[in-house]
Structure formats: structure tokens, C-alpha cells
Point group: C2
Chain length 469, copies 2
């Protein structure tokens, strides 16, 4: 009987519906939406009980790889990374992750999203344990969330009479209903489909082979031909590209007769829209959830959040206000489904803040524009312990570095020097240089660039420990 | 007959009702509310016709003195400054300005606010010329604005039958009416009181001497004992403090029988609230005025402005959204009168952005925080041509200066050096230093401070050309 579950966490998506907190450069799962940790980190911690769960496998792509790695490291969780060469929806991703888990002799797999909220870790783990009984009998087990309202943007699960303990047979997965149908579904005892799936790799892959043989074959092949670097596995691009792009629900779950459902006793939200944040937050007596430096006056039933700017909100109802240093959202709750299109319009209009955060993450750490003028640009660089920027030079700018925290190892034209807090160095135009953090705490440097062209693409890389040369 | 008018521009007030654009550190009249220039600058330019107007006198206080001076300089207008030792409402300010103008042999004075909008400069000047006919006969002339709606937050002027050309005798100044009374006033042909007054200094002061002898005497005495420094006149504090604090309307205008009114043919707004900005702006077909990087979707009858952050506004009506890097306002138009209280609450809560702009103005130029961490702070300093910071030292911080524009003259422990763009200098803790701009274009410096205490009050000043030692 499988008693150890390998969590497979799917990390993708651009999260436009939670703009401006979530943007393409750092989508929703990596953002601290609720509390101090990101939902990705909260997901990792939810499966951190090594008596029940094995080391998790993160299925993601090149864009989010370093962020996933760093965020796991920050909370002390070791992970395997399976890198998808391209985004092809959840079917191929889950199949490849299952095939990879199989190659690592995983007994069972729990496929889960990285951007959901779960309250009740014990109840969550109990649901996993309960589910194993059906997995043992060759089932694919999902968690059914008891509906609290007639949501029209969720799929529903219809349970049947057959039982294994508390686990019920699924008779149908049904599509997003209209409001009237949703009400009927609730009356009939259907569950919300939260898209968690627990299975043995063998069963998932054999069911997929029945319905989507090309997908199953491509996924297995992409794993067989994968290249490994430490705990990172790069799926073979050619093989993976042959998998039809479909969601796992369409590809397998809605077609197999092997699905079972565990009624969830934990509280769940997909945090899909700002409205969800109002639902799950601690509302005051006027129905407002307020986060950060926000002063409200005559405001009702609203989500009000500032991650920086001092924000005054006066005399409005049923709105969402999210203020950041470089981007602001004001929206009526009824109109929030428009946000995705609006963000796309802003992106089309070349507004950087539509897709990029002020803080940009890199394998070695992050940088943030702090000022900009006609012929200068100032940034704050944060370098992870042991992080190392590439050995590089610039044709059209000089740089001044002032160390404001930690220890820097600076290479300049072949010489290596060590700088401490309150020390600085000048990198002339054309100088071949590198910044590294030899220490155990983060290194922070204020960089002042001067020159007539100050964009990221003025860079010649000579060497890079992250293989970006 | 007086043919040359000395403009007296009153500059005071903290402008909370236009927060966050207007804050105590730089109130509404100095902010570019409409277009590129501040309303103070627009006011100066309105009276720049030296065939009709003499060099203007600015009545202000120490807090706004350098800002007024700099903004006048920036548009090439020479001014006299009369500095009030304390704020005592408009009566004493206007009396002192009139007494000062009298001492400078002014023929007539036009007292005006610095924070109003006027569209129609020719019509404005025509109104001034028309008014002079009544001034010549010993009158105090005001401009009556033909009402466009039954405003309840303006005072009204009732004209009588007596005429001098197009100038009508005033029979009463009436207080802010309720909505019904306001409608009746409009029907009866009353004007809005915009608080512009044209008079000879002799007449204003003699009328004031009738009704408020202490105010008139204190103002004359404050001018007689004033200290002059170049074109800046510092009213005597003792004398000025003896003037009762009252508005000029209460002190004189509502009591004298010498008032006349010129019906204004120019368009006018006191820009008193954000709503006024919507009134005077160019609205689109949905009734929205949009300024800056704002994307709207299903929005109606709203004022939407960003002075920086990318802003999305979705599905709201009759709101004002004003976004800045460090502060955001979202308010329903009906509730905007609450803003003043809300700003006060935020100020009481020690939120810096309630009262201070990101850019802080100093006599030598300005500075702006661009980044801040545990033991460091980065600023951008902008030094006016010929501007000079004080000779100073700090006990608990060192500073790195990188020149990013212009030429810097740096004094450090007795030595003077010249730095150009892309050059830097290190000011160690305790070093006695000074930054100056010897050039003709603005100097910009990125300053990185490190230390365990980084506030403005860690400063020992040894010498200062602005007398701040």
C-alpha cells in the first residue's frame, strides 16, 4: 500500500487577475498574498510532513525556475525541479511530472496548484491519508470542496453511491454552471473541483495512454531524454513539444471512470481574484479588509491594500483598491473580471508595470530601480549568499557601487577586491567586472549608472554560473 | 488716476483638500495642478503685463518663501517678498502688503490669491482696467464671477443700481448660502465672490482704520519696523502679532460702503477641491478627465490622475483617483469634503506622506528619498545654479556622493574640489563638508548615506548662506 506521497506542485500562469501584486515577472504564487509567505511557500509547508510526503517535485518553466528554487531555500525545503521547455497546459505538465516521479520510484503522487489557500493543514493531511485507500485500489482521488456559495467560475464534482471509507466514487466532473444550475448542484450535494489529484504514476499514465496516447508517450519520452543538473531536470524539448496542449481535466479526469472524491474538511480558496482575498480576509464590522497604510472613511464591503503608498479611501462601496509604489488598481468588485483585459491593454501599451514588478528577480538575487534621470539610473542590487553576477562589461555606461549591507567580492579587470559596508568602487565604461556575495547574509549594493544608454541589453557576458552566457 | 496696479499675491494655506498632490510641505499653489506650471506661476504670468501691472509683491511666510522665490525665478519674473512672521489670516496679511505697497509709492493694489485658475487673461486685464475707474473715485473694487451653478461653498456679492461704466456698486457681501438660497441668488443676479480686491493702499488702510484700528496700526507698524534683505522684507514680529487674526472679508469688505464689483468675463475656479479639477478639465464622452498613465474601463464622471504609478480604474462612477509614488487618494465625489479630516487623521498617525512630499524643497534646491534600508538611505539631491548647502558635518553617518548631472563644488575638511558627471567623493563620518553648484544648470547628485542613524536632525551647521545656522 502506498503510504508516502510525492507532491507534484504545478507552477505556471501569469496571474493577471491579481494585478498589480501579481505580474508576469513574478506571478501570484510567488507573492505574499496572505501573510509573510508566498502561496508557493505555504504549499510547500503544507506537504512538509516527511512521514507522509516525500520531497516535492516542482513542475515549472525556465522563467520561474530560480524563483521557485530561492523561495524553497528561504524556508529550508529541498525540492526537485522539472523544467518544461514550453507551456503546454496542465495535461503534459502533470504527465511529465508523474513520469519523472515514477522514474524516482514514487509510490503515489499528489498533484496540486501552487497558488491556492488552504486553512487546516491537519484536515488537509487527513484527506490525503483517506484518499490513499482508494489510490491503493487503482483510483485517482480528488478533493471535493463543500460549496459555500453558488460559484459559476468553478467546475463541480458529482459523487455517487459507492464508498471506500469516507471516499466516494465520482460519477461526473461538470463544467462551470450558470447561477441557477449552481444552486441545484449545491442542493444535490456536488462539490467544487479544486483540481487536486492523488494517484499512482502508473494509473495516471495508463489512463492517459487510453485517452491521450500521444500525450502520455510524449511525456514519458521527455523524461527519458531529460538532462539533469543537480536537482533540476530539463525535459527534452522535442519530445515535450509533441504532447497536445490540454488541461489534465479534459485529457483524463472527465473521461476516466477511476475517479474518487474525498470531501474536504479544510477551508480552501483558489485566490483567483481580488474578491477572493476579501472573502478570506478578516473583515471589520463594515465588511472591509484593510492591509497596510490605508485610511478609510465611509467605506463598506471593500478590499483595501497598500504595499507602500499612504492611501486614503473615502465614501466608496464594494471596491478593491490595491496600491503599490509603481502601480495602482481601483475596481468595482462586480467589474473585476475585466481586470485581465485591462492589464493586457496596458501591456500592449508598453507600460512596463503591466508585466514587470519594481523588484526584478534574477538567479543571483534581485534588483530594483530606485531612481532614473536623463543620463543616470540608480538601482539597489540584492545578492543572495554565495550568489554571483555574470562576469560582464558595458559599452555605454560606467557604474558606481556602494556596499550598504554585507560583504562584496568585486572583480575588476582581473583584480579581485573585498568591499564591506560603506565602501565603494568605480567600474569604468568597458571594465570587465563581476559582483559576488562571498558571505552568509544578503549583500546589498546601491549602484549608480551614468552614461547615454542605460538599458539591460548593454551587457557582454564572459562567464556566468547560471549558464546565461 | 492710478494706471499702474501693484499685484499683491497672498500665498498661504496648507491645501489639504487637494491631498496628495498638495501637502503642507508644498501646498496647492506651488503644484502643477493644471498644465506644467503651478497656479502661483500662472498667477504671476497673469499680471506680467508691465504696462498695466507693477512688479508683484508676494505676501507669504518663512515656510514658503524660498519656494515662491524659486518658482518666480524659474519663469523669469522678479518679485518682492513680504514675510509674515506668523499666520494671522488674510486681514493682517493684506493690510501689511498694502502698507508695504504704499511705502513703495504704489498707485493701486490688486490683492489676489495664488491658487486660483483664470482662463482668459485679456478679459482679466480688461476687468482690472475697468475697475480702475471706481478705484479712482475712492472705491474698493472686486471681481464678481457670474455663477454657473448654485454653489453653497462660495460667498456671493449683491450688486446695486449705481454704476461707473460697467462697474456696479456692491450693496452686500453675503455668506455661503444653502442650496435653495443659492438658486435664488442666481436668479437675482448675484455674483460669486472670488476675493480679488483692487484699491489704493490709502483707501484700504483708512477703511480698515475705521473698522479694525488695531489691525491697521499693527500692519503699518510691522512695515515701518520691517527688516529688508534684498527684495525680501521681514515684517516686524512684535508689531504684526498685535494684529487681530481675521479675514479681510470680515475685517473690511463686509462692513465698508465703498465696494464696487466688475462682472468678470473670464472663467474662474478656486480649484478648492478635486471636484473642481473635474469641472475645469477636458472631459471625454463618458465625463472623465484622465491625466497621466491611467487605463480606464467602464468608468464615468470621474477625475483620474496619476503622477507616476501605472493605474487601472475599472467599473466606478463619480470618483476621484489620484495616484502618486508615495500616496494615493480614492474618493467618491460626494464625500470629498471629508478629505481634509482624513488627511488630518493620517498626519496625527505620524504618516509622513500626509504632510510631506517625496520631494522636499530647500533654499538651495531639493532632495528626494529614493531608497532606504536598515543602515542606509539614498537620496537624489538637486542643487539650483549657484545654490549652496550649508557647511556641515554628521555624527553618525558617512556619505557617498555621485555627480550625475552638472558640476559640483565640494568642500571637505577645508579642501575644495570640483566634480563632474560620473565622478564621486566620499564624506567620512564627522567630515566637515559642503556641496555647491557653481554652474549655470542644475546639479544632480545621488547621495548614499550609511550609518546607524540617518535622520535630518543629525546635522551640525557651521555656515549657511540662507541664514539657517
Amino acid at each position: 500500500m502506498p503510504s508516502i506521497i510525492t507532491p507534484v506542485i504545478l507552477v505556471g500562469g501569469s496571474g493577471k487577475r491579481l494585478w498589480p501584486l501579481s505580474r508576469e515577472s513574478m506571478p501570484k504564487q510567488f507573492v505574499p498574498l496572505l501573510g509573510e509567505q508566498s502561496t508557493f511557500q505555504q504549499t510547500l509547508l503544507r506537504v512538509a510532513d516527511r512521514g507522509l510526503f516525500a520531497r516535492p517535485v516542482i513542475a515549472t518553466n525556465d522563467a520561474y525556475r530560480f524563483m521557485a528554487e530561492q523561495q524553497a531555500k528561504d524556508i529550508g525545503v529541498e525540492i526537485d525541479l522539472v523544467i518544461e521547455p514550453e507551456r503546454r497546459d496542465s495535461g503534459p505538465a502533470m504527465a511529465a511530472a508523474a513520469a519523472y516521479a515514477q522514474s524516482q520510484a514514487a509510490e503515489s503522487v499528489l498533484a496540486m496548484a501552487s497558488d491556492h489557500m488552504v486553512i487546516g493543514v491537519e484536515e488537509f493531511r487527513a484527506a490525503c491519508r483517506d484518499g490513499l485507500a482508494a489510490v491503493e485500489r487503482g483510483g485517482i482521488v480528488t478533493f471535493g470542496i463543500p460549496p459555500t456559495e453558488p460559484k459559476t467560475d468553478y467546475g463541480y464534482i458529482r459523487p455517487g453511491g459507492e464508498h471506500i471509507g469516507g471516499v466516494q466514487k465520482v460519477t461526473a466532473f461538470v463544467e462551470k454552471p450558470n447561477a441557477q444550475t449552481a444552486l441545484r448542484y449545491i442542493a444535490e450535494g456536488l462539490f467544487w473541483n479544486a483540481s487536486y489529484f492523488l494517484f499512482t504514476p502508473e494509473v495516471l499514465l495508463s489512463e492517459m495512454a487510453r485517452f491521450e496516447p500521444a500525450m502520455a508517450a510524449a511525456a514519458k519520452d521527455a523524461v527519458a531524454k531529460a538532462k539533469r543538473n543537480g536537482s533540476t531536470v530539463f525535459l527534452d524539448a522535442d519530445a515535450f513539444s509533441r504532447a497536445p496542449a490540454k488541461s489534465i481535466d479534459y485529457a483524463v479526469m472527465e473521461r476516466t471512470d477511476k475517479c474518487w472524491v474525498v470531501p474536504a474538511k479544510f477551508r480552501w480558496s483558489d485566490l483567483g481574484t481580488w474578491d477572493a482575498l476579501l472573502d478570506v480576509g478578516q473583515a471589520d464590522s463594515a465588511g472591509n479588509v484593510v492591509e497596510g497604510p490605508v485610511e478609510i472613511d465611509h467605506v463598506r464591503n471593500s478590499y483595501l491594500r497598500s504595499d507602500g503608498p499612504l492611501t486614503a479611501v473615502i465614501g466608496v462601496e464594494n471596491v478593491v483598491v490595491v496600491a503599490m509604489d509603481d502601480a495602482v488598481l481601483v475596481g468595482h468588485r462586480d467589474n473585476l473580471p475585466r481586470l485581465k483585459d485591462v492589464v493586457q491593454r496596458m501591456a500592449d501599451g508598453k507600460h512596463k508595470a503591466a508585466t514587470e514588478h519594481a523588484v526584478m528577480h534574477r538567479p543571483w538575487g534581485s534588483y530594483q530601480d530606485i531612481d532614473r534621470g536623463e543620463r543616470f539610473r540608480a538601482k539597489r542590487l540584492t545578492v543572495h549568499p554565495k550568489g554571483k553576477l555574470s562576469l560582464q562589461s558595458h559599452k555605454r555606461r560606467a557604474e558606481h557601487w556602494v556596499v550598504v549591507r554585507g560583504v562584496a567580492e568585486v572583480t575588476l579587470d582581473g583584480k579581485i577586491m573585498t568591499l564591506h559596508e560603506n565602501e565603494s568602487v568605480y567600474i569604468p565604461m568597458g571594465g570587465i567586472h563581476r559582483l559576488a556575495n562571498p558571505g552568509d547574509e544578503p549583500l546589498e549594493v546601491v549602484e549608480v549608472q551614468t552614461g547615454d544608454y542605460l538599458e539591460e541589453d548593454d551587457i557582454i557576458r564572459y562567464e556566468d554560473i547560471y549558464a546565461r552566457v
